[in-house]
């Protein structure tokens, strides 16, 4: 057996890395989708689907995940300014792939103030809208383990991924005009490590493993939350995008919107689907039909030529000699001849 076929997806983020170098366990041969590519060879094996589970109820808002993300990805976010809120920076950027979004919410049932902290970032949709919208071959790829990754050398900076994403995640760099987002630490996962944010999380609010394990782990957490009075606790794994490889445990899963606008039923916008679907095919057909029609008419129909009679009448007219009178419908507006 070759080394690549023995690759095992990491089942946790807490294990420490081996001291010997490890070759990447998956790569281009494991793509299930590649942007703007119709002839992608089917993958020869199926990697175990992985997932990151973010338990919002366990998050203490320490931002260790943000720091770990910056450190691992070697991004250099600008030093921001204090706007009187905890969100820092204020939004995702091309240098900040994940962001703690803080919401102060008064629960109308209990009149308690609840501090909701959601770690925002790419959800790694099973049906990624960014990939569907991308016009550049190979700029966005999806591996059989569910990770959606941007291949920056193929990115052209058009911003179509931004229009395709139901979660408003990709950010285009003003410096190199390429799109950036969370990679689910695909480079770490490829060598058996969990994502940096999960590794750094001090409360294990972020855990990582196979999607199956993560769903099972979530069940336990949800049962616990329900026993503590959170009747609507649940798992956020939205079916509108085929499920996601980043999931949330929410104490109020009946209203995901209260967590800094987490969409209730995210899906690829029908406008984007129409643009990338019927518009493309009908458009190409219309242009092709017209071009072919012109060509056929040009080859088979007689060209519209000026006759000798036309030339003769034209010359007589400009010389001021008599020519046939105007046809009756020539001045239907009743206007006088100029």
């Amino acid at each position: 057996m070759s080394g690549s076929t023995t690759y095992q997806s990491p089942r946790t983020a807490v294990s420490n890395p081996p001291v010997t170098p490890v070759a990447a366990g998956f790569g281009e041969a494991d793509l299930i989708r590649r942007s703007a590519t119709s002839d992608l060879p089917p993958p020869q094996r199926q990697l175990t689907p992985v997932a990151k589970l973010i338990d919002v109820s366990k998050c203490i808002g320490c931002k260790a995940c943000q720091s770990a993300c910056i450190e691992w990805n070697d991004t250099k976010p600008d030093i921001g300014s204090n706007h009187g809120i905890y969100d820092n920076p204020r939004d995702l950027t091309e240098n900040m792939f994940t962001l703690m979004r803080f919401t102060e919410w008064v629960n109308p049932e209990t009149d308690n103030l609840e501090w909701l902290i959601r770690k925002d970032g790419c959800m790694h949709c099973s049906d990624p809208g960014c990939l569907r919208a991308c016009p550049a071959p190979g700029a966005i790829v999806q591996y059989t383990n569910g990770i959606v990754d941007f291949i920056h050398e193929n990115c052209i900076g058009c911003g179509y991924c931004v229009k395709g994403c139901p979660f408003n995640i990709p950010r285009i760099s003003k410096a190199d005009h390429r799109s950036y987002k969370c990679t689910l630490c695909s480079d770490r996962v490829a060598v058996g490590q969990g994502p940096a944010c999960a590794k750094a999380c001090p409360t294990q609010a972020i855990v990582f493993g196979t999607k199956e394990d993560m769903k099972r782990h979530a069940e336990g957490r949800i049962a616990d939350l329900k026993s503590r009075g959170y009747a609507n606790a649940g798992l956020y794994d939205p079916p509108g995008v085929g499920g996601t490889h980043v999931m949330y445990v929410l104490h109020h899963n009946d209203k995901p919107n209260i967590y800094a606008g987490l969409p209730e039923n995210p899906r690829i916008s029908p406008i984007v689907q129409t643009w990338k679907g019927v518009t493309k095919y009908v458009g190409l057909a219309a242009m092709g039909f017209l071009a072919a029609g012109s060509l056929i008419h040009g080859v088979f129909a007689r060209p519209n030529r000026v006759t000798e009679e036309d030339d003769e009448h034209g010359e007589r007219l400009v010389e001021g000699k008599p020519v046939p009178p105007p046809k009756p419908e020539t001045y239907p507006d009743g206007g006088e001849r100029a």
Binding site: A36, T37, S38, P135, A136, P137, N154, I156, G157, C158, G159, Y160, V162, K163, N168, I172, K174, H177, S269, I271, V272, T274, W275, T279, K280, G283, L284, A286, M287, L290, A291, S294, H297, G298, A301, R302, P303, N304, R305, V306, T307, D310, D311, E312, H313, G314, E315, L317, V318, E319, G320, P326, K327, E329, T330, Y331, P332, D333, R337, A338
Partner: protein
Amino acid sequence: MVERIQPGDVIHPGKPSTVGRYGPLARLNHWVTAASLILLALSGLALFTPSLYWLTGLFGGGQNTRALHPWIGVLLFVSFFIFFFQLWRANLPQRVDWVWLSKIKDVVGGHEERLPELGKYNAGQKFIFWSMAGLILVLIVSGVLIWEQYFADYVDIPVRRIAVITHSIAAVLAICVFILHVYAGIWTRGTLRAMTRGDVTAGWAWRHHRKWLRDIAAQKRVDPAE
């Protein structure tokens, strides 16, 4: 009121006699419009469908295509609308246009003798003119809305989604109108010289725009240099 004769529409007596249709600056501007429209179609189609992505090679790769396309769009917008303001009065619709359109079979069949006498533009030319004007307006507005580099921070994503599909549909229609325009100019022999040398023969004018020729002749608008 429709402008029947435009400045520069004068007779140049000779063998054959010719009639001026477009001055040198109008022609130069027309070719700027034409070139930018072709470049826009090529770069736009490259991003419209993956099967034509290879066209980005003509512009030096995907990044350059993405960067150049909007600027060429600005150029097209400016040059087209300079042209627009020179021509719009001569392109206002008239009742005779409906007569011409009702005989579209004779137009396509080349039976010019069954058609009414026309001024400087026929209904087909007017259609090209107004549809291009409308489409280019839609394209420049929707194009600015999806110009990632400069305008992304000012446009909400739902608006950008509507803009991008509008831009695609308008571009497809503009390319269709462009094909019609070019084909009509080629199929109607003797037309292209109006955009190269700037004039047409008196015979061509008699055949296709007889009312225009009669108006010019009646005014004795002869090139003073001849």
